[in-house]
C-alpha cells in the first residue's frame, strides 16, 4: 500500500526532494504538492536575468506540467494551505482537505518589509518571485525613477536589472558599504564604483524614514531629510523564514522551523526543508545547502540514514560585469592574518584570511578567475604553509614576485594633473622625459613640473622611474608609514588629481598594503580628504586621535581638560561665573593658560557632555585646545586702552578668531595680534602673527615657540584690517591644502619656501579663490562640537557600555 506524502511549497528545495524521491523509490508515495504561487518549480536564482531581460521565464522553468504528470504528482497550484492538523494528519487547503502519512513543509521565506509609513502603497514591491519580477518589468516599461531599498545580493541584482531596462535607479543601503555580510569595505567600494559606472546611484548609510505618495508611490524620504523621487520602490532588505503554518501547528519554531540533521521537525512525521528551516541556530538562504538538505529529506523519507552537515558557502553576484566573490568567514579568532593584494589599474582587490596554516576566508573583486581554487582550499582545509608566500597570486603563480609599488602612478591617465601649481599633466612630463629630460632638474627646467611648491616631486620622480626603468635611480622618499610606499606629498597630490573622495578610494586606488590603514596614516588621510573635499567627504571620528574624537585633552590619569573659547582673550563676569560654577560642580582644577584662556583640568569622561552643556548654556563654545586646528588668537588691549596702541588689535583678533575657529589644519595654528611693535601679544612667535603699526598691519608667518623657537618671517604689509584678514585666511587655506599632516606652518614653509607662498598669495584672484574655498569648508566644519555632543543621544556614547561594579554592589 502506498503511503501519502503532502508537500507544502513548490520551490527549489522541495523540487529537488521530489526528483530524488522519484529516483530512489518511484512507487513508495502518493504525492500531493501545494503551491501558493499559481505555477510549479522554477529556478528562482535566475529571476535576475529575467528581470534584466537576459533570459525569459520559459528558460528558467525546472519542472513543467509534463514533468509533474509523468511523475504522477497531484498539483494544487495557486492554492493556499490554511491549516495543518497533526492529530488527524491532514492538511487543509482553500479547496479541501487531504490526509498524509508524511508531511514536508517547504514554505521558503518571505521578504522582510521595513515598517515605515507608505510601505503598502501601490508601486512598492518586494523581490521574491516571478510575480514581483513581472511587476518590476511592467513598471520599468514606463521608464522613470526607481529606488531600491537594500544593497545586498537581491537589491543590487534588482537595481542592475531595472537600470538595464532603462530606469534611473538609486540604491539605498543602511550600512556603510554594500553587501556588508559578504564583502569587506574595500570590495564594497569597488562594487559601488562599478555600479555607479552603470549609472546607478548608491547611497550608503541611508535610512528610509517613509515612503511618500497619495494613491501611488511618489518619493522616498530619508532620515536625514533627503527626498528621492520614485515611480517604483523595490524593498529588498532581507528575508525571514516563512513559519506561520508551522507555528499554527505548534511545531518547534525559533527563527525558522527547528529541524534535526535528518530534517525532521519536532514531529517525526513532519519534515521541513529549505529557507524556512533552522538547524543549530543557523538559517539557510543560498541554494547549495538547500540541495544538500533535499538529499537528506529524500533519504529520511525512504528510510535511509543520512545527516545534513552545513558546509562552507560562497557568494557570487549575478550582475554582468561585476566580478565579485566571497567565501568562508572573516569573524574574529585568535591568530588570524590577512593577505591583501590590490591592483588599482585593473580595479582588482583580493583578500585572504589565514588562520594557522589554513585559508579560512576570501574576498575577491575584479578578478575572480581563481575563486574556485581558493574556495576549494577553504572547504578542504588544505595546509597552505608551503605556498603561503605566493598564495594570493593563485594556482598558476608559484614563482614569487612583488606587487609593483609604482603601479598607482603608472595607472594614472595621461591627462592626470601632476603639478597643481603649474597645471602640468602626466603626459607632458612623460613626453619631456622621453625627449631627454632624464632627471628631476631637467624635468623641472623643461616642464616647470615640481618647480614651484615642490610637493609633487615624489610623483615626478616616480614618473621618471616608470618611464626610464632601471635607467633612473630613485632617491629614497620617506613613505607615510608601513602601509604604503608613497610619501605624504604623493598621497596629497594623488587625492587631488585622482579625485579620491573616500578612505576606501585611497586604500584601493593607491594600493594600500593594509585593510584600513593604521594610527599613522589614517588620521593623515582623514585630514587630507576633508581638507580637499569638504562637501564630499565626511570627517571620520574613528580616524582621529583621542583628543579630537572626544573634543577634550586626555591627561595622564585618563581624565580630560576642558577649555572654552575666549574670543581674542576677552571674557565677561557672566562667563567667569559660569566657568567657576562648572569647575566646582565637576571638581575641576583651574589653570590660566598662555593662550589667554582658562583651562578646567581633571574632568571625567562621563561628565564631559554635562559640563559642555553647562558652558554652552552660558554662551561659550569649544576652545579647540585639543585639535590640529585653530587654537587661540592672543591679543593685547591695543588702541582701546593702551597709550602706545596704533590699531584695534583686540578687535582684529576677535574677528580673526570668529572667522577661523572650527577649521582643521595640518597641525595646530596659533595666532597673535599685537597693537604696536612692543609686541605684548608675543605675535612674532606664532604660526601667524600680526603686528599693528601706524601705517597698517605687518603679517608674519611661520613662528613657533615649542620644541623649536622661530621668529615669524614677514609675509606682507597691508594698509587695512580687511586686507589683513583676507591674507591671513588665504594663508591658512594654502597651508591646509598643501602641507604634510603634522607639519607646523614653519616646517611647511621650510619645504616650499616663503617666496612661493608670497608669489601665490600676491595674485588677488588666487587669494580670493583660497578664501572662497576656506569659507566653503567652514560652511561644514564651523560648528560647535560640544553642542553636538551634549545632546542626550550622543552624550550616551561617553558613558560605559556596561557597568558590573554597580550590579555587584547592590
Amino acid at each position: 500500500m502506498k503511503q501519502k506524502l503532502v508537500v507544502i511549497g513548490a520551490g527549489m528545495a522541495s523540487g529537488r526532494v521530489l526528483e530524488h524521491l522519484r529516483e530512489r523509490a518511484p512507487d513508495q508515495y502518493d504525492i500531493t504538492l501545494f503551491n501558493a504561487e499559481p505555477r510549479g518549480n522554477y529556478n528562482r536564482i535566475m529571476l535576475s536575468p529575467v528581470l534584466s531581460g537576459e533570459k525569459t521565464y520559459a528558460e528558467i522553468v525546472t519542472h513543467d506540467d509534463d514533468w509533474y504528470a509523468q511523475n504522477e504528482i497531484s498539483c494544487r497550484f495557486g492554492e493556499h494551505v490554511v491549516g495543518i492538523d497533526r492529530e488527524a494528519k491532514t492538511v487543509t487547503g482553500q479547496n479541501g482537505t487531504v490526509g498524509y502519512d508524511k508531511l514536508l513543509i517547504a514554505t521558503g521565506s518571505a521578504p522582510f518589509i521595513i515598517p515605515v509609513p507608505g510601505k503598502d502603497l501601490p508601486g512598492v514591491i518586494s523581490y521574491r518571485d516571478l510575480d514581483d519580477t513581472n511587476a518590476m518589468v511592467e513598471a520599468s516599461a514606463k521608464g522613470g525613477k526607481a529606488v531600491v531599498i537594500g544593497g545586498g545580493l537581491l537589491g543590487l541584482e534588482a537595481a542592475a536589472g531595472l537600470a538595464l531596462r532603462g530606469m534611473e535607479v538609486t540604491v539605498l543601503h543602511l550600512m556603510g558599504h554594500l553587501m556588508e555580510r559578504q564583502l569587506d569595505e574595500a570590495a564594497g567600494y569597488l562594487l559601488k564604483k562599478d555600479l555607479e559606472k552603470r549609472g546607478i546611484t548608491v547611497l550608503t548609510k541611508a535610512a528610509t524614514k517613509a515612503i511618500l505618495g497619495e494613491d501611488h508611490v511618489e518619493a522616498v524620504l530619508l532620515e536625514d531629510g533627503t527626498v528621492l523621487d520614485a515611480d517604483l520602490v523595490v524593498m529588498a532588505v532581507g528575508i525571514r523564514p516563512e513559519t506561520r503554518l508551522a507555528n499554527d501547528a505548534h511545531l518547534d519554531v525559533a527563527r525558522g522551523i527547528e529541524v534535526n540533521a535528518q530534517m525532521m521537525t519536532s514531529d517525526p512525521d513532519v519534515l521541513a526543508v529549505g529557507e524556512c528551516v533552522e538547524l543549530d541556530g543557523q538559517l539557510f538562504g543560498l541554494v547549495a545547502p538547500l540541495y544538500d538538505q533535499a538529499k537528506v529529506v529524500a533519504a529520511t523519507l525512504t528510510g535511509e540514514e543520512a545527516a545534513f552537515v552545513p558546509k562552507e558557502l560562497s557568494t557570487k553576484l549575478k550582475v554582468t560585469g561585476c566580478d565579485l566573490f566571497s567565501a568562508g568567514d572573516f569573524a574574529e579568532g585568535e591568530g588570524r592574518e590577512d593577505v591583501v593584494f590590490r591592483d588599482p589599474s585593473r580595479g582588482v582587490y583580493k583578500r585572504l584570511v589565514i588562520e594557522g596554516d589554513r585559508l579560512v576566508g576570501a574576498v575577491m573583486y575584479g578578478d575572480t578567475a581563481d575563486s574556485n581554487w581558493f574556495f576549494g582550499l577553504i572547504k578542504n582545509g588544505t595546509d597552505i604553509a608551503e605556498m603561503r608566500e605566493t598564495l594570493i597570486f593563485g594556482p598558476a603563480y608559484q614563482g614569487g614576485g612583488q606587487a609593483d609599488p609604482l603601479s598607482a602612478v603608472a595607472a594614472l591617465p595621461p591627462e592626470a594633473e601632476i603639478c597643481g601649481c603649474n597645471g602640468i599633466c602626466k603626459s607632458t612630463i612623460v613626453n619631456a622625459i622621453e625627449g631627454g629630460a632624464t632627471d628631476l632638474g631637467a624635468v623641472k627646467a623643461t616642464t616647470k613640473a615640481s618647480a614651484s611648491c615642490g610637493t609633487c616631486t615624489g610623483l615626478v620622480e616616480q614618473l621618471l622611474q616608470v618611464t626610464l626603468g632601471d635607467g633612473f635611480e630613485m632617491p629614497t622618499a620617506q613613505p607615510v608609514c608601513g602601509c604604503t610606499d608613497l610619501s605624504h606629498e604623493d598621497v596629497r597630490r594623488l587625492i587631488k588629481s585622482q579625485e579620491l573622495k573616500s578612505q576606501e578610494a585611497v586604500w584601493q586606488e593607491l594600493g594600500w598594503k593594509t585593510v584600513n590603514g593604521c594610527h599613522t596614516c589614517r588620521p593623515a588621510v582623514n585630514f587630507y580628504l576633508l581638507a580637499d573635499w569638504p562637501l564630499d567627504y565626511t570627517d571620520d571620528p574613528q580616524s582621529r586621535f583621542v583628543n579630537e574624537r572626544n573634543h577634550a585633552n586626555i591627561q595622564k590619569d585618563g581624565t580630560y581638560s576642558v577649555m572654552p573659547r575666549m574670543w581674542g582673550g576677552m571674557t565677561t563676569p557672566q562667563e567667569l561665573v559660569a566657568i567657576a560654577q562648572a569647575a566646582e560642580k565637576y571638581g575641576a582644577t583651574v589653570k590660566v593658560t598662555g593662550g589667554q584662556r582658562i583651562d578646567l583640568l581633571g574632568v571625567k569622561k562621563e561628565d564631559l557632555p554635562a559640563i559642555w552643556a553647562d558652558l554652552n548654556a552660558a554662551g561659550m563654545v569649544s576652545g579647540h585646545a585639543y585639535t590640529k586646528g585653530l587654537r587661540t588668537v592672543k591679543t593685547c588691549v591695543g588702541s582701546d586702552w593702551c597709550r602706545f596702541g596704533t590699531q584695534d588689535s583686540t578687535g582684529l583678533g576677535i574677528k580673526l578668531e570668529k572667522r577661523l575657529w572650527g577649521s582643521w589644519t595640518p597641525h595646530k595654528v596659533k595666532l597673535g595680534v599685537s597693537g604696536c611693535p612692543r609686541n605684548c601679544a608675543e605675535a612674532t612667535c606664532k604660526d601667524i602673527g600680526i603686528v599693528c603699526v601706524d601705517s597698517g598691519y605687518q603679517i608674519g608667518v611661520g613662528g613657533a615657540a615649542g620644541m623649536d623657537v622661530k621668529e615669524v618671517e614677514r609675509l606682507v604689509d597691508v594698509p587695512t584690517e580687511e586686507e589683513a584678514i583676507e591674507w591671513t585666511v588665504a594663508f591658512v587655506q594654502l597651508y591646509r591644502e598643501n602641507a604634510k599632516y603634522l607639519d607646523r606652518a614653519y616646517k611647511w614653509l621650510a619645504k616650499v619656501g616663503l617666496d612661493w607662498v608670497q608669489e601665490v598669495l600676491a595674485d588677488p584672484a588666487e587669494r580670493a579663490a583660497l578664501v572662497d574655498r576656506f569659507d566653503l569648508s567652514q560652511s561644514v566644519y564651523q560648528t560647535d562640537p560640544w553642542a553636538e555632543r551634549a545632546r542626550p543621544e550622543v552624550a550616551q556614547s561617553f558613558q560605559p557600555l556596561a557597568d558590573f561594579t554597580l550590579e555587584a554592589a547592590e
Binding site: 588570524r336 594610527h519 588620521p523 571620528p541 574613528q542 574624537r549 556596561a802 558590573f804 561594579t805
Partner: protein
C-alpha cells in the same frame, strides 16, 4: 561559562570601542570595520593608557598615549614593544554582544 549581554553591536562605533566596568578593572570592547568584536583589558601595560580610546585598525588597536600597538586576537604588543593585555571571550548573537564574565567576577581589581 557566563555569557552576559552587554549591549547592541551598534552601540560600539565601527573601528571604535566602548568601556565596560568590572571589579577586575575596565574592559574595552572593540568593533572592527568588519563588524567583529573583541574584548580586552582597557589598560596599556606601558603607562596604563586607555586602549578604548585608541585608533582601531584591522584587528589591532593603538594606545592613545604612546602608540603601542596590540593584536586584539592575542593581546600581544606588536613590533619592538614587549607586553600583553588580557583578552576575554566575547561573541555576537542576534546583534547583541555577549561577554564571558566568569573570569571577571570574584576577583579584586589588580
Amino acid at each position: 561559562m557566563t555569557w552576559t549581554d552587554i549591549g547592541a553591536v551598534t552601540d560600539v562605533p565601527l573601528r571604535g570601542a566602548r568601556l565596560v566596568k568590572t571589579h577586575a578593572g575596565c574592559i574595552a570592547v572593540f568593533r572592527t570595520a568588519e563588524d567583529e568584536v573583541f574584548a580586552a583589558s582597557n589598560a596599556c601595560p606601558h603607562k596604563q593608557g586607555p586602549l578604548s580610546e585608541g585608533i582601531v585598525h584591522g584587528q589591532k588597536v593603538t594606545c592613545p598615549l604612546h602608540n603601542w600597538v596590540f593584536d586584539l586576537n592575542t593581546g600581544e604588543a606588536q613590533g619592538a614593544d614587549e607586553g600583553r593585555i588580557a583578552v576575554y571571550p566575547v561573541r555576537i548573537e542576534a546583534g547583541r554582544i555577549l561577554l564571558e564574565i566568569s573570569a571577571l567576577q570574584n576577583r579584586s581589581a589588580a
